[in-house]
Symmetry: D2
Subunit: 379 residues, 4 copies
């Protein structure tokens, strides 16, 4: 009984408004009503990406949007520089390799973001693109994209900048145009508060001009952008998820993006205070790089994060994120993004606090109390 607390770092709690929007009857995707919907949507979408350029919408997961970013811009054998910031950066590199690209991976410890200084020395002339994960969903570490951009600019290097904003879009500030990003990769089920099923590419003029030779059809930007001009798609779009997308964008506009970002910053800070008050460690090791959409918590030696997660799911009906890849069992992740507010955070942290205690993890009292104290003052 009672509502499930879905506090993984995505999919996030979908607002009732959005679920009801999705439940509208499907319409003719070649008719005038759809054309109006799509035209409106494509304009609204630019706001959340902070771009004046096109945003391509795919019926796909975020992984699909990764593939789209690569196959549209690169050619077989192209070299890309990537940063080992966590599990998802690794998966994106594996994808690039499978598609025939050569990946120059800057190693990392999964507790820091992409290192702008390390980038400079990798920028050999043959580098075609730089791949950055803005917000590593597996670690809760944010990469400083503007500093990456600055490193490219300092080097005067023409490489494309491809940025994964899968778990930051709509919850943390990301400025596609201002930051000089060439392809922003996003998806529906995190800050946009939708179910999974939509992937996005925001595309710069430079990226549009620089088409690679990797084979592509489904992911090809051109016929989509062309058809979008009239409000249509070259293949059947995911109509009902688009209904939800419109509703979610309206909700974000109603709150205002700066307020949305401030809300996430505030909840993230409150969460870190709780974690530290419990005597536990936040995985992210650099104060400049904390994620505002999730927090990964390191377990004390000898305690299995997944055992705690299972206990919390069974006893308190809350889902937390598991440790991925090399972090399996060592961290759990608290998602505090999307359709979320102070009292949901209070319930979330209370569940973590009770769950850690019940699992026998040695914590100090007062974590939730510390978060509440910050929330009280932080308005």
């Amino acid at each position: 009984m009672g509502r499930h607390f879905l506090q993984i770092p995505g999919p996030t709690n979908v607002p009732d408004r959005v679920l009801r929007a999705i439940a509208q009857p499907t319409i003719d995707h070649r008719g005038p009503e759809f054309a109006r919907l799509a035209s409106e949507l494509l304009e609204r979408l630019k706001g959340v990406f902070q771009t004046a350029g096109p945003v391509v919408v795919y019926p796909s997961s975020g992984t699909g949007a990764w593939e789209a970013a690569l196959v549209n811009t690169l050619s077989p054998g192209d070299k890309v520089v990537a940063f080992e910031t966590g599990h998802f950066s690794t998966l994106w590199c594996e994808m690039a390799a499978r598609l025939g690209l050569v990946v120059d991976l800057v190693p990392g410890d999964w507790r820091h973001g992409a290192d702008p200084d390390a980038l400079a020395e990798r920028l050999t002339p043959d580098v075609a693109a730089v791949m950055v994960v803005h917000n590593e969903t597996s670690t809760g570490v944010r990469s400083r994209v503007p500093e990456i951009r600055a490193a490219l600019d300092r080097a005067g290097h023409p490489a494309l900048l491809l940025v994964d904003t899968i778990s930051s879009l709509g919850s943390m500030d990301h400025r596609h145009d201002e930051w000089g990003v060439d392809v922003t990769v996003g998806c529906s089920q995190k800050g946009l508060m939708l179910p999974p099923g939509i992937g996005f590419n925001a595309v710069s003029d430079k990226a549009l001009a620089h088409r690679g030779r990797l084979p592509r059809s489904y992911w090809d930007w051109e016929p989509i952008i062309e058809a979008n001009r009239r409000g249509f798609y070259p293949y059947t779009p995911p109509t009902n998820l688009l209904y939800g997308l419109r509703e979610a964008l309206i909700m974000l506009e109603e709150e205002g993006l700066p307020a949305v970002f401030a809300r996430h910053d505030r909840h993230a800070e409150a969460t870190r205070r709780a974690v530290r008050a419990w005597g536990l460690e936040v995985l992210c090791a650099d104060e400049r790089e904390h994620s505002s959409s999730l927090t990964a918590v390191l377990m004390p030696e000898g305690h299995d994060a997944d055992a705690v997660r299972r206990l919390i799911l069974e006893r308190y009906d809350m889902s937390l994120g598991t440790g991925l890849g090399r972090l399996a069992g060592r961290v759990f992740r608290i998602g505090h993004l999307g359709h979320f507010n102070d009292l949901m955070l209070a319930g979330t942290l209370s569940g973590v606090e009770m769950g850690l205690a019940a699992a026998g993890v040695p914590i100090k009292e007062g974590g939730t109390r510390a978060a509440l104290a910050y929330l009280e003052g932080g308005r």
Copy 2:
């Protein structure tokens, strides 16, 4: 953003499952599909009332079910004994008077339940019925219905026992048959986790045999019970709310009534511990009479409960119950009934704690923490 916390003592948070059930297309209320629905429902309903007899379902509020209980059983000028346990007991008496009954009201201080000892001396031969509010929604005080029954039995008095279970049905133990209740009055929007719009009368054989002469038509049990035998209604039933009722009853059966009651007991105890740890007073003055579905909290002198409620609504998006009648401004009420769980309670109490502090009400720290400590141990 984020979910509203609807923590008034009803209407309560309606489960998504129930809302989706309600959103099914309306059907022919004279057709075979409806007959199956109604027959199933009327059987399932008996479980929650703990009766083998009929339960009459009205398209009405709970107030309508009060009226039904009176006009079916009583005659103009009949005397009824009632107890001043709070705002709703008073309203029920006013209704009785308006319908032409003579009310003998046992006075009360709104901090205690109906007094079984006081009943004995009121049981003159002309008393036709005794009216008791099982769980006073305005005060969070539970009346000890079995002791009222025992007082009637000791006196060998034939008066009918009419019990309002509006805010206890489906959240606190109520045994229509075992406790010898003649009419149990209930409604949809509290423990049954439905929107408002349905009222109930569970009816004993004695009540059915003892029909009064007050004029009645809409509320008349007989044609309804007669039509119900074939799965129909003498007038159009509230089909979509009945869909929701079926779903809600299934949910209660899945959890099991004893577990449902235990959950509410536990949340009520945790709430009282929080209130006391804050240094505040629970309105209910008798340990035997605490409600398990809501808690009314007395404000310190000089502090307006409604100002706190407004602040909490604006800042934390939580609705709490106002003080009613003579308690206006002096108490606020926390609803912890219906579709509710530990983390929702944690969020609720956190919101109260932050709100009291923000409103400048002098409280001690640690109320929410005390509740969590009880919840941790209380499983």
Copy 3:
């Protein structure tokens, strides 16, 4: 598979938009959001009743709204004139008698509306009210309310005029103020395209001034109108159905009431053309009195209307209205009101045509074709 055709004369097909509105989370009925909803609703409602006065909204069926009209205005022993226009007029009279009123019933043949000429001779000085069913749901006959009003005016008689618009409100023109109606009785599940569960009384100043002495509490207009001024209700209102009501009223406003009425007139005429082309008889015997919301069809001798209805339900998944009271087995009723359009009517008539043929009822071909021909030309 495929959609059920709910072609009884109410409940009608509820639009998806309305069902989704109803599925919104329930809110605090004493909070500011509810007050805004109620205030908006109560204003919008006036439009559909064509009144500047108050409309009282009950959690009830239409039958409850009948009772409200009587108990608010009349006193025990009052004489009311009523017309036997069909099953529902008879039920209303039975209710009046049960509530202690004296009914002077103008007999009728169930094929004509209320006779304005017959009224004159009944208007003895002791008549307190005249009860008219605007659109007899059991017969598809419309009473000419303005002519009833004129008869009262000619006689200079002060009797109140109580009009049941249960199956005409929102589908056929009804002018509460202009026609001098004192109480208009309505409900949710017909022209208003909602599920059942709401009853209405639109009330004239004269009716408000003329309060009867029948006992009343739940149905009492005064506390409701008083609380409504601030956007509230004296008891818990049916919040979720009110969400649906708002949406339905918006839909009616979008189409415009004159267009709504014209649509129903057109579908009714097309239906009658189909019936006559099949060689069957429409029950309504006066061309001035055809209902625009439903058509009752007389079966040829020796054929059971309910057998046809069952066959159509089983074979074509369409619900039609049964013959009620003395018309049982002799007529079936086609509802063509509410959320309905040309192609739904074409499907409906096709189902009737195929069903009659399959049941062995001797009909001529071409009924549906005749309706389509009218629809083609009738725009």
Copy 4:
């Protein structure tokens, strides 16, 4: 007002049950509840594909599932034989070419299915695969897949058989295993009665063994099939559409696939009878090859199909399919698949009949009547 008639050949009318299922809250796609959902779904899916092998589910359109079929099985420069049966067969060939395959296209007149006799002479040893569109959505022509299989078998040729069942799956008999198909391509928004957003590949053992060297990552069957064994996905699956898929599969099972196919056959025959009675021509030129899910209707010379479609949309609120590619303006397409029944068909054909007349297209009367006559007899 009234329901929109969505009679394009997909997306089709989504049942309310399915829309409500989709509106359930999104859950953790790595948790135990999701694992149960996915495991159940993947088993149920086999039934509709009539296969014992795996079915791969993609967050994608049907176009994506085309791409998946190609990139999993073929290598750059591979030769594929395809048939020009209509617009979609052409698009699939274009995709193959863009992905680096060599297409040997058997020309066609868009009024016939794939010619099994023509296949034999194309089966040179270097042919890697044969691509067939089972049911051409642009023409309403069905290809005889078992005869294509027989031609391959007679030639003893090892080419893979790739079959597009996008508009036949779940509405027309397709037997993946029995017919020796290697990859069946499907999607959600046609016979499966879902919104768009899911693509499918049913995969034979032979196809699984025969992996091509086209670059692939998102579409790669192996990690998906591997993760599916435990009820999971290598990337975030479209949870809410999967809820709907489960519900839709249950609905198909309730009716039974043979009954589903018979229903579609019957509606298609009724539609053709209407078309011919109007004096118009069905596009499909071979009696053995009529589609059961849609009917393309040829316009008389001098009449623009799209003008008729626009008129029908505006006047009767029905969407019909446009003529695609070389058929633009020359045909319109009636979708009669998915969640559909006799009375919906009657409404659909009535709308076409009225629309053709209103547009001044010379037709004979009686088309809808001819369809009804067939439906009456055809049970």
